[in-house]
């Protein structure tokens, strides 16, 4: 009754208002998530008119009439919000969106405006997605993203590959600091614990303008959770067990504030992992155990217009390399490749023996920011890292226990940049400086694979973005200088210290057009340059792991090559993307063409007879290459409970100069997943997913030359020691439930991988010469979330 009369009153008032007043009201508001984080690029609909929130998450409607209006707010990954409000409002409208449970996240519509490529194809792995990968390595989690695959060395080492490029051509940012490990190495996985991340973004296009030449192929941005402003103590615990390698994983995070110090927060986190040998369906993959112990801590302080943070992380791991993959001579490699089963199979054990790797990575970050009114925000970021890598080989008893490779890399980076906004233009201008010192720790008694070196890089960049109507335009430019000093030996006797100076530029242009509030197209053109890495210049000698003799660009024929013959790689990449986000259907497709001149690769140039037999000789060389492809994802809500998610990726690569293929290019693949959701009466979130990954045979694989045939091979086309394995289809499933417990949540998930226990080999796994991939694996994961605000 009362309600009815109030309604009448409003209606009456509204009616009279309509007749009496002008429609000049302004409605302004902000869209944010439950954590208080603003959501830029969200769509706000009113009476059929749609606007998109700005970088601050704000929106404004003008010329409105007093009375009731209905608003609809949408954002990818969140539940749509539809509500009524009455105008005029006395204060700014705050719309809070609730995150929705999706198994695949669509493209970030606008991203963090000043830091990553807005017009570059960006994929975001949210906390939900990352939870599915709890306990597994970073490279495995990234494999999920269309266009990203992995270069593996056995079941525990995954290196991310973005659109066919990897190692020193892609950059990983660890909490804002460029990760400096020995990423040139084919068997060196990134030393990051995915448990530290609350979100991982993959930018699949050159971000060299913002970050320098290591980002010529793309960037992987690993972000830790933002330091919460709450003073209450909270955190989360994760635990997991895996059946195939009998692995246990545990991770815990605690955070809080200080009663005495306002605006200051702390966080500590740790994770531990121990697993034994994996098993393929027919045999144990002996010596593939893993153990890991990591921790990190952060202390942050933030006022309205300035703040600082100090962050420290330590990553420590020991990884076994399949024992059967270790061969000393081409004759043994040949026997191993031709054998249908690994030549070394023992019973399951947790022990990790040679061949193995042991890596310790410490990282320290100190950062601060200050908002300067009228100018923007000044950011200063310092990162110091120490990476120690030891690789153990099977050695004679007298040498047992000594590492075969022991590298120490000490890196420092300093970033100073100014984020600014002037009218509709936003941008960033800054400088990056990096100093690296790499040394071989004496005591291995084996000639080092790469020499000692010191490297100094400095870069200056500017990126500007302009929003106009439905357009977003972006342009960027960067200039870099690199000074490299190498300490190497001629004939293993005389120490020489050649020095190099490289100056190079990068540029990018991008455009994004919002066709309507459902679709947009993007286009990005990036030109970047990359000087060859020390490993490409000075690699020398017999690489047991690769069963080949490699010679760097500077080391050919035993002479020291003329420096002027060394060219920088120049990559030109055009990426076009189309994105459609409808109510129940969304589609994202991106097609790219990447031309790289002076592309550094390993070319076979003959064979040499050593005391162990005929080894192929590969010289680093430079050629003209093209990588082009298309990938995307589809998401379809079939009804209230069932959704379909699919991804696909195809890449075509060619060595244009030699009319040949490129090695280790991922084959076409796709994945289909169907999920059924149910929200129970007690507000429990239940789901079951069935997914089918499909990989096709790599039809553009290099020709096959078995190790025993190497001495007779006269050609110059690149070759592989064995034919590419056949494609495969797998069946995976996951069942999970999320219980709210008062203001906390408990998630339990049971996952089964390779349910059909299929025997298969993966083209991108370097150990496919020796053994199958792991068979069935069941995982049980529990996550208890007791953050005090979320």
């Amino acid at each position: 009754m009362i309600r009815g009369s109030i309604f009448l009153l409003f209606w009456g008032l509204g009616f009279s208002a309509l007749h009496g007043q002008n429609c000049t009201l302004v409605l302004s508001g902000v869209v944010q998530d439950k954590g208080g984080n603003v959501l830029p690029g969200a769509t706000v609909l009113l009476s059929g008119k749609a606007i998109v929130t700005s970088a601050n998450g704000t929106f404004e409607f003008q010329e409105l009439c007093p009375g009731k209006i209905e608003l609809t707010v949408r954002y990818i990954g969140y539940q749509e919000s539809q509500f009524e409000i009455g105008l005029p409002l006395s204060e700014q409208l705050v719309v809070t969106l609730i995150h929705s449970e999706t198994t695949l996240d669509a493209v970030e519509v606008s991203g963090n405006i000043t830091h990553s490529g807005l017009t570059n194809a960006t994929y975001r792995l949210t906390q939900e997605e990352l939870d599915h990968f709890g306990g597994r390595s970073l490279g495995e989690a990234l494999n999920r993203v269309p266009g990203v695959s992995a270069l593996q060395t056995g079941p525990a080492i995954f290196k991310p590959v973005i659109d066919g490029l990897h190692s020193q051509r892609i950059l990983i940012l660890n909490n804002g600091i460029r990760q400096e490990g020995q990423q040139w190495g084919i068997e060196h996985a990134p030393e990051i614990d995915p448990f530290i991340a609350s979100e991982i973004r993959v930018v699949k296009g050159s971000e060299a303008v913002r970050y320098g030449s290591d980002a010529i192929g793309g960037v992987i941005i690993v972000d830790t959770p933002p330091m919460h402003q709450a003073q209450k103590f909270g955190g989360e615990l994760n635990a997991g067990i895996f059946s195939n390698d009998r692995m246990g994983v545990f991770s815990g995070l605690l955070e809080g504030g200080f009663k005495k110090f306002e605006n200051t927060n702390w966080r500590i986190q740790s994770s531990a992992k121990k697993g034994g040998d994996y098993s393929a369906p027919d045999y144990v993959l002996s010596n593939t155990g893993v153990q890991e112990l990591n921790f990190s801590g952060a202390l942050g302080w933030q006022e309205d217009d300035h703040g600082a943070e100090i962050y420290f992380s330590s990553f420590n791991t020991e990884i076994g390399i399949l024992r059967a993959s270790h061969t000393g001579s081409p004759g043994d490699l040949d026997s191993a490749i031709r054998s249908p089963q690994p030549l070394y199979i023992e019973d399951f054990t947790y022990a990790i023996d040679p061949p193995s790797q042991k890596i310790n990575h410490q990282l320290l970050k100190v950062s601060g920011f200050k908002k300067i009114s009228g100018v923007g925000t000044l950011n200063v970021l310092y990162g110091g890292q120490l990476n120690q890598r030891k690789e153990y080989d099977i050695r004679r008893q007298s040498q047992a226990g000594k590492a075969a490779l022991s590298l120490k890399l000490f890196s420092n980076t300093l970033d100073v940049f100014l984020d600014h906004r002037i009218a509709r233009m936003e941008g960033s201008i800054g400088i990056n400086g990096t100093y690296k010192d790499n040394s071989n720790v004496p005591g291995t008694d084996i000639r080092p694979l790469i020499p000692n070196y010191k490297q100094f890089n400095a870069g200056l960049f500017i990126i500007e973005k302009l929003r106009k109507n439905n357009w977003l335009l972006e342009a960027g430019a960067r200039v870099d200088h690199q000074y490299l000093q190498v300490l190497t030996f001629i004939n293993n006797q005389d120490l020489v210290k050649p020095a190099f100076n490289f100056t190079y530029v990068s540029g990018s242009l991008g455009a994004s057009y919002y066709m309507n509030d459902f679709a947009r197209i993007t286009s990005h053109l990036g030109v970047s340059m990359r000087p060859p890495h020390v490993s490409e210049l000075y690699s020398e000698g017999l690489h047991h792991g690769a069963a080949a003799i490699e010679r760097g660009l500077m080391n050919q024929d035993g002479f020291q090559t003329d420096q002027s013959l060394i060219r920088k790689e120049v990559s030109t990449k055009l990426t076009n993307g189309f994105q459609f986000i409808g109510k129940s259907f969304s589609l994202e497709v991106s097609a790219y063409a990447n031309h790289i001149s002076n592309y550094v690769f390993l070319k076979p140039t003959g064979s040499q007879l050593t005391i162990r037999g005929y080894f192929p000789v590969f010289d680093y060389a430079q050629t003209e290459a093209i990588l082009t492809g298309i990938d995307g994802l589809v998401h379809w809500d079939l009804n209230k409970h069932v959704e379909y998610a699919g991804t696909f990726a195809y890449l075509y690569a060619k060595d244009v100069t030699h009319n040949d293929v490129l090695t280790f290019i991922p084959p076409a693949q796709m994945e289909h997943a169907i999920t059924w959701h149910q929200l129970t009466k007690r507000n429990q979130d239940f789901f079951i997913t069935i997914s089918v990954p499909v990989a096709f045979t790599q039809t553009r694989a290099p020709i096959t030359v078995y190790p025993s045939e190497v001495d007779e091979y006269e050609g110059s086309k690149v070759f592989d020691f064995a034919p590419a394995p056949d494609g495969y289809v797998l069946l995976n499933t996951e069942i999970g439930v999320k219980f709210p417990l008062k203001d906390r949540t408990l998630s339990i998930a049971l996952e089964g991988q390779n349910l059909l226990n299929t025997s298969y080999r993966v083209y991108m796994n370097r150990l496919r010469y020796f053994a199958d991939e792991p068979g069935m694996n069941f995982m049980l994961r529990v996550k208890y979330n007791f953050h005090s605000h979320e």
Binding site: F261, W301, D332, S439, D445, I446, N452, N492, L609
Partner: protein, 198 residues
């Protein structure tokens, strides 16, 4: 305010860290030294000592050798030498010596092999030459080793090759050739069996 103290603390901490880093940069990495590789094999010597009956003259020892004189780890044809032919109807006591001459001092790897005999075996493969080879020595498990062997020639002249392969078989030695494990060294020598030598 307490925040100011914290700010000062953080500032000082940052400065402190900077200083540490700069001094670390300045202090670390002296020049590297060239590596002395301990496990490299540079020299393989096979000495064939003919057995004489009582009263006969001492025959000459025939040597098959590979010596990596330029230390480039490549088996150049010029580095493989055979001192002379074997003679028909004779028996030779063969001894193998393996050395690492890459460093300042000579390392006798065959001695290490003898000490780790249960992890090693020499495999002999004869092609077209009229020689049969029998291993004389054995490891502590009674399995053959091959540093010492007996080479017997037939009564016909022939030419061919003998391939000697050193297999490293920790934990997997069965006495079979090639068996499991890895090849540490393999060399093929051209050999001839001729009349004469009385």
């Amino acid at each position: 305010m307490k925040n100011q103290t914290l700010l000062r603390m953080l500032n000082r901490l940052t400065l402190f860290l900077f200083v540490i880093t700069i001094s670390l940069i300045a202090a670390c990495s002296d020049d590297p030294e060239s590596t002395n590789e301990e496990e490299v094999i540079t020299t393989v010597l096979v000495a064939l000592d003919p057995e004489e009956a009582a009263g006969e003259d001492e025959g000459e020892i025939i040597t098959l050798s590979w010596d990596d004189v330029n230390l480039d780890a490549i088996v150049d044809a010029s580095e493989v030498t055979v001192s002379g032919p074997l003679f028909t109807d004779k028996t030779y006591d063969a001894t193998i010596q393996i050395l690492n001459k890459s460093g300042d001092s000579e390392i006798d790897i065959s001695q290490e092999i003898e000490e780790e005999a249960e992890e090693h075996i020499f495999c002999f493969a004869v092609s077209d030459a009229g020689i049969s080879i029998t291993i004389q020595d054995e490891d502590k498990n009674g399995l053959p080793l091959g540093l010492k062997s007996i080479w017997s020639t037939t009564s016909l002249e022939s030419t061919g090759t003998v391939t000697i392969t050193l297999r490293h078989q920790p934990g997997v030695k069965t006495g079979d050739c090639p068996g499991a494990g890895e090849t540490d060294a393999t060399l093929t020598f051209p050999v001839a069996v001729t009349f004469g030598g009385e």
